[in-house]
């Protein structure tokens, strides 16, 4: 049994302190929840040889291998080096491939399955998750990011510090419309009722349209087709023991370049305003303390949003506080 464990280094290395002294668990990052099957052999080997033969699928789409002796960390780090090298080959900045994960603060970027499989998805979420991973990992700041293909938000982007929701601008060619109203009825029933029927053709209210692309999917004649890809950025959603809340829309109709720049800028914001007296501080609480105006100013630095983009003037969180007195029956 080893007695001298630097738990801070241990945690940074993506291992965790567990209930059992000397026993740890390793978290394998899976950006976008998309993993080459060849790495399964390594995960299996770690679990069988060093762990307790099981693997836990984490809420952020990684793998957690429990039951590992802390003494074996160096060996395991060597064993998982092909997985780390895989990240490096994709363009993630990692210096030492043999030393295990270089950071764990910024969590795995999770993603719904996206347009490689799902008919509803408006973009390739797997690819964007990887682009974000490359941009922000390794990093110690505690940040949760998830990307989702459409406003169904299957990945729960609304529970993240940054949630990216795919949008598409629907383009309407009235000459191809047979007036079946499949889009109108569907938008009313399933979405926001942004479509109305006037003079036998469809009118779209751009202020109500959330760019989900349902009208395009419903249209039998391709009167509705896909225009440019856009993204809704929702921010500072969270769970936690203090003030759980859904993320609110910061920007809609943003382009990919702006999304990436804003995420990058957010790390500068954290760096500038984080309370350094604390062990760690979650970005949402920094924004709460410093104010949305300041956050907005900092993250939009040098960002060239598309003309269509709409930026929130203020955020109206509807979360609640656990500390509030609740009257129970």
């Amino acid at each position: 049994m080893i007695l001298d464990i630097d738990t801070k280094l241990l945690k940074k290395n993506a291992y965790r302190v567990t209930k059992q002294r000397g026993i740890t668990a390793l978290r394998i990052r899976v950006p976008g929840g998309d993993l080459n099957i060849k790495y399964f052999d390594i995960i299996k080997e770690v679990a069988e040889k060093y762990g307790n033969g099981t693997v836990h699928i984490t809420t952020r789409q990684g793998f957690e291998i429990p039951g590992i002796s802390m003494e074996k960390i160096d060996e395991i780090n060597e064993l998982i080096s092909p997985i780390i090298r895989g990240l490096k080959d994709e363009g993630v900045q990692i210096e030492d491939e043999e030393g295990g994960y270089p950071a764990a603060g910024t969590r795995n970027v999770s993603a719904c399955i996206g347009n490689r499989v799902c008919p509803f998805a408006n973009y390739d979420t797997t690819a964007l998750a990887l682009k974000i991973e490359k941009l922000i990992y390794p990093n110690d700041y505690h940040v949760k990011i998830a990307v989702t293909g459409c406003p169904n938000d299957c990945i729960k982007a609304h529970m993240q510090d940054i949630g990216i929701i795919g949008q598409v601008e629907p383009i309407y060619d009235p000459s191809r419309c047979i007036g079946c109203q499949a889009c109108v009825k569907n938008c009313k029933r399933r979405v926001t009722g942004a479509l109305t029927f006037e003079n036998f053709k469809v009118v779209r209210d751009p202020n109500r349209c959330i760019g989900c692309g349902e009208c395009i999917l419903k249209c039998p004649t391709s009167a509705w087709t896909r225009g440019e890809k856009y993204y809704r950025i929702v921010i500072m959603g969270r769970t936690g023991k203090k003030n759980p809340r859904l993320a609110q829309t910061f920007i809609e109709w943003a382009d990919e370049e702006s999304v990436l720049k804003i995420i990058k800028n957010m790390y500068d914001f954290i760096d500038k305003y984080i309370d350094k007296t604390l062990d760690k501080e979650h970005v949402g609480y920094i924004v709460d303390r410093e104010g949305f105006k300041k956050f907005k100013e900092e993250v939009l630095k040098d960002v060239k949003l598309p003309k269509k983009a709409k930026v929130a003037n203020h955020l109206d969180y509807t979360g609640y506080r656990y500390e509030r007195n609740t009257i129970y029956d």
Partner: protein
């Protein structure tokens, strides 16, 4: 005899033809598929060989070229009306034998079904020249052999596309001027067998047992599975139903236009009548109507009018 071309001489021909004709063919529209990052293969105007998409079946049919989805019949003001002009140019359509045959079926409906020819259809249809694309393999969902639409010999020009080697047979001499190349032996080939065989019922037998067909449980399956989206009818090269719409312009309701717009017997509203009633609420009933109308009634009516329902090949 055929003429052998390559991509360059073919493109030269298109250029020459484009002076007098609008040229349509199956095209690939990048990113225009309903699902994101997918393409839409449909008919569109082309200007070069690379615009023609032959590797994938077209989602929509070439009927749109002569029978537009939305067609303004006339504009009206308080006491006058005017028909819209149409393009002076002729129309060349690159299409497969099945699609060429489907034009003949549309002809029956628009030109031979009833006492009057449909002038709006006719004035576009008369411009059409068939540039038939040789099709010997078809696609996995094709069944042209079963319907006898696999062959089409009344073409103006027939093409075999084999990458950079293009061979054509010019039947209509008026097109000889456009195509220059080496003369070669060439006889068009047609597909002889599809992956799917469709067994068409004997119309005579249906006539004797209409009630049996009408109440057959086959339609119940459609009631369960069909979503009444109308895609089958808008993609079908022989569906021809339309409805009329009078539009009164918003800024000045005394002016407007009368349009005809495709309709689909599969979607809601097709059978709406005065008083708010409508018929065939069940989707299986709609499918039954469609099939009976397109196959049974069509044959019966056209036989009555002495029109051959299927072309002799």
């Amino acid at each position: 005899m055929g003429v052998e071309l390559n991509a360059k001489s073919f493109n030269d021909a298109l250029k020459i033809l484009s002076i007098k004709y609008k040229i349509f063919a199956p095209v690939r529209l990048k990113g225009k598929g309903a699902f994101s990052d997918t393409d839409l293969v449909t008919y569109g105007e082309i200007s070069s060989y690379k615009d023609i998409e032959l590797s994938e079946k077209s989602r929509y049919s070439p009927k749109e070229v002569i029978y537009p989805i939305t067609q303004t019949l006339f504009y009206f003001t308080e006491d006058e009306y005017k028909e819209p002009e149409i393009d002076d140019k002729g129309i060349v359509v690159f299409l497969r034998p099945c699609d060429a045959n489907s034009y003949l079926k549309l002809d029956n409906i628009f030109l031979k079904n009833g006492p009057y020819e449909d002038n709006y259809y006719k004035r576009l249809r008369d411009k059409v020249k068939f540039f038939v694309i040789e099709c010997t393999k078809g696609f996995s969902t094709c069944f042209c052999v079963s319907t006898g639409s696999n062959k089409f010999l009344d073409y103006d020009v027939f093409f075999r596309f084999d990458d950079d080697k293009i061979t054509c047979d010019i039947k209509n001499e008026e097109f000889s001027y456009a195509f220059s190349g080496k003369e070669v032996e060439f006889s068009p080939e047609f597909i002889e067998k599809n992956e799917i065989d469709v067994k068409l019922p004997d119309i005579g037998k249906i006539s004797q047992k209409v009630e049996y067909v009408f109440n057959h449980e086959l339609w119940d399956e459609y009631t369960k599975r069909c979503i009444a989206c109308g895609r089958c009818t808008v993609s079908c090269p022989t569906c021809s139903c339309f409805s009329m719409q009078d539009i009164f312009y918003k800024d000045n309701p005394k002016c407007g236009e009368r349009r005809r717009v495709w309709a689909s017997c599969m979607v809601d509203g097709f059978t709406d009548v005065a008083g708010g009633h409508s018929y065939r609420q069940k989707y299986g009933e709609r499918m039954r109507f469609k099939v009976m109308h397109k196959i049974y009634d069509y044959k019966k009516t056209l036989q009555h009018n002495n029109v051959h329902w299927l072309r002799k090949v």
